[in-house]
């Protein structure tokens, strides 16, 4: 049965199940947890101009739906027609985008930009240069105009796309020529409103401002000094070693599977719902193991994804599940490919475990949303006495 998952009827059934869960999950959240539009934010450009403009909730919810469509198109281009549909299905059943979109997180909108960028890359690879370039520029435009740290990410994103062979020198010429035109306004306004830029950057790149940890470094240094080793104290505990450790810590945390597949870090600061269902960890790990063992073309996904980790790494407290959602497509593509390989390699037991776990966690999550999640939310807003 699993081998025939790509057959039309089965595929339709899986997609229908995914869409049903997509809808019901969002309806449950809307019905029971009062988070609708709670975390609406303003885009970078609006902040820069000092305009109090919030991205409307409808646009974010629309992006959430369009992300599903884009994932289907990109997924089919990356993974092929037979299994590409799994990526949007996995997106549909993931609580992560559901919670973020309904609360109004701007990162769902930025994710839409990232997916447009991916779509552009795949089109360019198919020699649809005009359309590909247009999507790439539109996608990059959306990301950069929405979040300041994406300005830093942009060169690395392009470098990653270039190094991974997504477009050649010849094909990238048009992008390199047109990109400054797209970026010109934001660069112009950034130069014009340098004070605002500094404030926004300090908010988005808060890594260097953490007071608590710096205090503990000072306390540690004091302890070493009072023990009679002041020079050793200075060498071991100083700003450079502290920041180095902090950056490594933030980076490594984004690579840990428990960040995405368990409730280690609470969604929106209160939830016990994991960003992605635990069952999908099995195909994810299987795919990673295969990538280690054999040369897989899909490894370039990592190269493209690494720069997208920057917004969360540059935060004081990592992982920031808000900005980290930008790498959700990569996780979903890898999990989809892992599922494909599990099916192809006849690892039936694992496929059954995945289905059982997803079904179990899906129903538990819906039940939890209708019963405990509202209380958890209330407790987070109004801490228990």
């Amino acid at each position: 049965m699993f081998k025939k998952i790509h057959e039309r009827g089965t595929r339709f059934f899986v997609i229908a199940c995914g869409l049903f869960f997509f809808g019901i999950l969002r309806l449950f959240i809307l019905r029971y947890i009062p988070i609708r539009g709670l975390y609406l934010g303003s885009p970078f450009l609006a902040d820069l101009l000092g305009k109090g403009f919030l991205i409307p909730l409808w646009l974010i919810i629309l992006s959430d739906v369009l992300n599903l469509v884009l994932l289907l198109i990109v997924g089919e281009k990356i993974l092929g027609k037979n299994y590409g549909f799994l990526a949007p299905v996995f997106y549909a059943i993931s609580p992560w985008p559901a919670y973020l979109s309904l609360s109004g997180s701007i990162y769902i909108f930025i994710l839409f930009g990232v997916l447009l960028f991916y779509l552009g890359l795949t089109l360019i690879k198919e020699d649809q240069n005009f359309l590909g370039t247009a999507f790439i520029l539109l996608g990059l435009g959306i990301t950069v105009y929405s979040n300041s740290s994406m300005l830093f990410v942009l060169p690395f994103l392009l470098w990653g796309a270039y190094k991974s062979g997504q477009f050649t020198k010849k094909k990238s010429k048009a992008i390199i020529t047109l990109l400054p035109l797209v970026l010109l306004p934001i660069i112009f306004f950034s130069a014009l409103h340098q004070d605002s830029l500094r404030q926004i950057a300090a908010k988005d790149i808060s890594l260097f401002d953490e007071v608590g940890l710096i205090n503990s470094v000072n306390a540690f240094r004091g302890e070493v000094s009072s023990a009679g080793y002041p020079i050793l104290g200075k060498l071991i505990e100083n700003k450079i070693t502290y920041l180095g450790r902090h950056v490594i810590f933030n980076t490594l945390t984004t690579f840990a599977p428990y960040t995405y597949f368990t409730q280690q870090f609470k969604l929106l600061g209160f939830s016990f719902t994991p960003p992605i269902f635990l069952g999908l960890l099995i195909p994810f790990l299987y795919a990673i193991t295969l990538m280690f063992k054999i040369k897989v073309e899909k490894r370039y996904l990592f190269l493209l994804t690494l720069p997208l980790l920057a917004p969360t790494i540059l935060r004081t407290y990592s992982p920031d599940l808000n900005s980290l959602v930008l790498i959700l497509p990569t996780i979903l593509f890898i999990s989809s490919w892992g599922t494909e390989e599990l099916i192809k390699n006849r690892k039936r037991l694992f496929v059954v475990i995945v289905i059982v776990l997803v079904f179990l966690q899906g129903s538990t999550t819906l039940f939890d949303i209708s019963t405990r999640e509202p209380i958890r939310y209330q407790n987070s807003v109004q801490p228990e006495r």
């Binding site: 940890l213 470094v217 050793l232 450790r245 428990y258 409730q263 016990f272 635990l278 405990r372 958890r376």
Partner: protein
């Protein structure tokens, strides 16, 4: 590399490992823990009378305050107490010794698994300097001992597969011994044996006698423990620490305080996913590289279970391990994956002790990564780039080692001494010197700088440091009640100064929470005992004549 050279290197690494484990281990950790004095005095009691503090003859499970203790750590202490007397060193000696001897043992195991001398030496060296290993080697740690026995069991298991049937006895003996040493192994060993037997079933079916000897030896040696577990009191401990008692689970997941009621069936999936979270949290960067070891206060960058430079070598090692070929890969994988199971099923957040049994496997992967990294460095063609990269990586290692040294010698004694009941020895020693002047001595078991939430067992410290005659203690009448315990002239109970100040010729020992200096009057405070960070731990107070 010649055998003599390897032998010299292993000897040197073992000596270094021994130095790091034994050096002033009677002073650092700063004080004996509740478990250490309890084990120590019971071992002393067994040495003198053959019975534990409750008068039970050579028991297989030792009753302690609140739970039951495993037999091996206690019996292993008897010879060292006989030789060195009842003191800090003799209590910590068996753990440090077994841990030091585990270095050459793991060399042999690593060699069996990798077949490569260089990787084996890297792994042995990393084990010798491992902060995780050193931390649990410097004080009584049954979990460390059990981890070593698991390693020995695996080594002889592989030897059994390759050679004589006598190794089946030895392997089974060590696996079973580990279950007599620490509770986590009672869950781990059966599962692990099931898996590694299944993995090697093809080989073992050809040599059925080995399989038969191994299984029968395990079963016969386990009979007393099985009896004790299912018909004795050991199950009490399992119930006490099981995941369902986790505060995070009951408070934040089940929402115990909520007015909504939920059925137990509906809670089961939540428990499963909560467990999965706990299990995967053992792979967290915070645990592995930042603050996995409880050596500094929470929320700060302390010392991880591994060194920070291993954040590079470990992933590289995992990559190489998956990609490359290694004998008994399945054993290494199941060792790690099943080794985390007992710890993840208990009610603590990331317990480095309960997972130490997987440390050698992790170290092996890290060493594999280190080996590959070294090869990568050497292969860099441009000389200045090569030297620069090696210099940067060396600096990171030096920084890491210096940081660990400072964490062990400076941060740890200052920041965690209260957890090790620092100050109790000083209080007991003062009391023993002056006890003849008083008709009763009252010791308050509640202490703590932030709040009096730490419940100590002062009577064990009194028994330990006074070397109280076990014959007398086993037979004399004890005064017991809901909130007090007493023997001889010693009473352990909560002090209530407004009432107690009227008693005559009584010496009181308690924290500032029960003995407020402003209420007592400076003249009656005989001694103040401070923690390493300068906080007041105890006041010793007399009442008016």
């Amino acid at each position: 590399m010649s055998k003599t050279k390897i032998l010299i290197i292993i000897l040197a690494i073992t000596l270094l490992g021994g130095l790091l484990r034994f050096y002033k281990n009677w002073q650092n950790p700063v004080s004996l823990t509740v478990d250490e004095v309890s084990f120590g005095y019971n071992a002393y009691s067994v040495l003198k009378t053959g019975r534990d503090e409750y008068g039970k003859f050579l028991p297989l499970s030792f009753k302690s305050v609140g739970d039951y203790k495993n037999p091996f750590p206690l019996y292993s202490m008897v010879p060292s107490i006989a030789v060195f007397g009842l003191n800090e060193f003799s209590v910590r000696f068996p753990t440090a010794l077994i841990s030091t001897l585990s270095i050459p043992l793991f060399f042999l195991l690593f060699k069996k698994l990798t077949k490569k001398t260089n990787i084996t030496l890297f792994a042995t060296f990393l084990l010798a300097i491992s902060p995780w290993h050193i931390y649990f080697s410097r004080y009584l740690s049954e979990l460390m001992m059990a981890g070593v026995f698991i390693g020995a069991g695996i080594f002889f298991f592989i030897k059994m597969l390759e050679g004589k049937r006598m190794w089946a006895f030895v392997s089974a003996f060590f696996f079973v011994l580990s279950t007599y040493t620490y509770y986590a192994e009672r869950l781990f060993v059966p599962l692990f044996l099931f898996v590694i037997l299944a993995i090697n079933l093809k080989t073992l079916i050809k040599e059925k006698h080995k399989l038969f000897i191994f299984v029968i030896t395990c079963f016969i040696l386990e009979i007393p423990l099985l009896y004790s577990t299912f018909f004795g009191n050991d199950i009490a401990r399992a119930n006490m620490v099981f995941i369902t008692k986790d505060i995070e689970f009951t408070r934040n997941v089940l929402l115990d305080g909520a007015t909504v009621s939920f059925s137990n069936i509906a809670n089961a999936p939540l428990l499963f996913f909560f467990w999965a979270r706990k299990y995967l949290a053992y792979f967290s960067t915070s645990f592995l590289f930042y603050s996995g070891l409880p050596m500094t206060t929470q929320g700060s960058y302390g010392l991880g279970a591994l060194y920070l430079f291993e954040a590079i070598t470990l992933p590289l090692g995992i990559y190489t391990f998956i990609k490359g070929k290694m004998a008994q890969k399945g054993i290494v994988v199941s060792w790690i994956l099943l080794g985390l199971l007992p710890a993840s099923l208990t009610n603590n957040e990331q317990h480095p002790g309960r997972t130490i049994l997987i440390l050698p496997a992790i170290i092996l992967l890290s060493a594999l990564g280190l080996y590959v990294l070294m090869k990568l460095f050497i292969d860099i063609s441009r000389k200045y780039v090569r030297y620069s990269v090696i210099a940067v990586f060396s600096l990171l290692i030096i920084w890491d080692l210096a940081h660990a040294l400072v964490a062990f010698s400076v941060y740890f004694p200052k920041e965690r001494d209260e957890d090790f009941m620092n100050g109790t020895k000083e209080a007991v020693e003062y009391m023993l010197q002056n006890q003849n002047n008083y008709k009763e001595i009252v010791f308050d078991p509640y202490r703590g700088v932030i709040a009096p939430y730490i419940v100590s067992i002062p009577h064990m410290y009194i028994l330990f440091y006074s070397q109280y005659d076990p014959h007398i203690y086993q037979t004399e009448l004890k005064r017991t009640g809901d909130d007090y315990y007493g023997f001889g002239k010693y009473t352990i109970r909560k002090i209530y100064w407004p009432r107690d100040k009227n008693s005559k010729d009584v010496l009181f020992i308690g924290s500032p929470w029960s003995l407020n200096e402003s209420d007592i009057g400076a003249g009656n405070v005989l001694k103040k005992i401070y923690l390493e960070n300068g906080s007041l731990a105890f006041l010793i107070v007399k009442t008016g004549d």
